[in-house]
Symmetry: C2
Amino acid sequence: MNIAVLGTGEVGRRLATKLVAVGHHVTLGSRTADNEAATTWAADHGPDAAHGTFADAAAGADLVVNATPGLVSFAALTAAGAENLRGKTVVDVSNPLDFSTGFPPRVVQPDGASLAEELQRGFPEARVVKTLNTMNNAVMVDPGRIKGHHTVFLSGDDASAKADVAALLESFGWAPAQITDLGDLTTARGVEQLMPLWLSLYGVLGPVDFNLGVALAEQ
Amino acid sequence: MNIAVLGTGEVGRRLATKLVAVGHHVTLGSRTADNEAATTWAADHGPDAAHGTFADAAAGADLVVNATPGLVSFAALTAAGAENLRGKTVVDVSNPLDFSTGFPPRVVQPDGASLAEELQRGFPEARVVKTLNTMNNAVMVDPGRIKGHHTVFLSGDDASAKADVAALLESFGWAPAQITDLGDLTTARGVEQLMPLWLSLYGVLGPVDFNLGVALAEQ
């Protein structure tokens, strides 16, 4: 596939690198065409690694990953262009966190709705799937780093888009039993609200890989 | 110990029953002295099971459990009386959920602070510890129902109060490795915000026992 990864931070670059490694052509998108992180990444990752503006990246993509900070994601998708998102699966891994009032940050969910729903409302012809926002980026692309049972969540209104994303997750190493489809996009509220707990755990555990797992009576 | 359990719903009764079973004298507290659920519970659970008003229960208690619905917890503690909470550990297992705008409910955290912090601010001489609010009541008192690794969180500003609560949890069957102390009471924000995800999981998994566990790279 041709995949656009919007956002040149650590999460975007990590996902882009993994997507190239599993066989996709990836364009790392940013606000400007000459973003240094993006040009360096593209130069370092071979012929299937490209870079460009958000619109450049999205225009040629079969699937779009939103790895921008949550509070600027709506602007990033706007810059990418609704026409470049039409009919495409948009994998939203962002977290709408406001650190301006200190720690712990607040999860910004205007009117109680998740950022993922806000993006879906703003770009109704895209097929938004929320996933991967509940763990660090090393675990996102290499779930085997964690030995115990742990879980990645999916939320979205379009079943075929969720199936595409589940397949992508499996190509990263996630086993089907680790992928929990929570239901429609309103369930993204809960996974976005996981971030304060995640940050508390990070405070306690330190810079180690960890993730939450859903443990059942039947296991 | 003499323990007051405030709240006569399923959670309160389940905790009260377990606390009697592990050797405590428990008074189930409610708004009125003749609450039917409380009188029935006390009649059914032997000489160490009593009932009374919130104030009756708290007055004689060494430790107080808040098992009232989150949106009425402040009123319940007010009825219990600040003088009856002074110096005591208050175990807050409640969830401040507002279902008035439909499903998923909203987590009510005025000014971004948790209910647990609001209770601590309102009753500064109590020692509030948030715990157990992230699972169903059967799992709270019988963690062995779930076979995989799973976790109970502690949040509170008073280390000795958290140690008391950890000991109580161990008497319920929680292993020390399952008890994760997240830090001060601001970390209760994150555990209260877990409820929407919990409710989504309940929607997917159905009425089975489940809980979240923190999985680490080292395990």
